[in-house]
């Protein structure tokens, strides 16, 4: 299986996972966005939201990184610039969710 096919399959798999997660999260966000500090901390620090939000972050950044790297493939013709852009993109897509998940798992009242 070549790299492009693998990339496409990863994109499809992550979109199947993301569809229900995004639906669940946006509904929850609409119900907690203006709530007090304690209520929001309880939401993020208890199960199942702790696990589901972590899953959402991992898959959404993974999906975005794959999609954006496809845009780089289409529009950046210089190989060196493309490599640097892809590396920066993957560092961003790993760091942000990782730090946020660590914070979620350390949240407590």
């Amino acid at each position: 299986m070549n790299t492009v096919t693998k990339k496409w399959l990863f994109l499809k798999f992550s979109s199947i996972v993301l569809i229900p997660l995004m639906g669940w999260f946006i509904f929850k966000l609409a119900s907690i966005f203006d709530k007090d500090y304690v209520e929001v901390v309880i939401f993020f620090s208890t199960q199942p939201s702790k696990f589901l939000v972590s899953l959402l972050l991992v898959f959404s950044f993974f999906y975005s990184a794959l999609s954006i790297s496809e845009i780089f493939e289409d529009y950046i013709h210089d190989e060196k610039i493309k490599n640097v852009a892809n590396k920066l993109l993957f560092i961003f897509a790993i760091t942000i969710p990782l730090v946020t998940i660590l914070i979620i798992f350390n949240l407590s009242i």
Partner: protein
């Protein structure tokens, strides 16, 4: 020698179709969603920093612009979900007929607006 090759259609004279509109909006909402999720990560960071820093973000979210932001995000997420379902149906080999693509395209547009209202009202426990 004169080049008689046809020119690509310029975006200003391009005839818009439902499918091209959905395709462009799908990309735009994808970018909006990842920016929004990054902002949500910052919101979670503010929780770790304590109640004082959380209050700054809360006061924004309780304002008119904050509510508009949440409504906009609900639409952007809803659009992306429905459009992605449409793509998955295409991947299975269905829905390529011109009439079907128009119907599913219209469903994505109006369905996302309906979902936005429902998500917001259900979230705020209005219904």
């Amino acid at each position: 020698m004169e080049n008689n090759n046809p020119l690509s259609p310029h975006i200003q004279i391009y005839s818009w179709h439902i499918s091209s509109l959905i395709s462009i909006v799908h990309r735009i909402t994808g970018v909006i969603n990842i920016i929004a999720i990054t902002l949500i990560c910052l919101w979670i960071v503010s929780l770790l920093l304590g109640e004082t820093s959380y209050e700054v973000i809360k006061s924004f979210l309780q304002s008119f612009f904050g509510k508009f932001f949440i409504l906009g995000l609900s639409w952007s997420f809803s659009f992306q979900i429905l459009s992605e379902v449409r793509h998955l149906i295409w991947d299975l080999g269905y829905g390529f007929e011109l009439k079907t693509t128009k119907i599913t395209g219209i469903f994505v547009i109006f369905g996302s607006l309906l979902f936005t209202v429902l998500i917001y009202l259900l979230g705020k426990q209005v219904i």
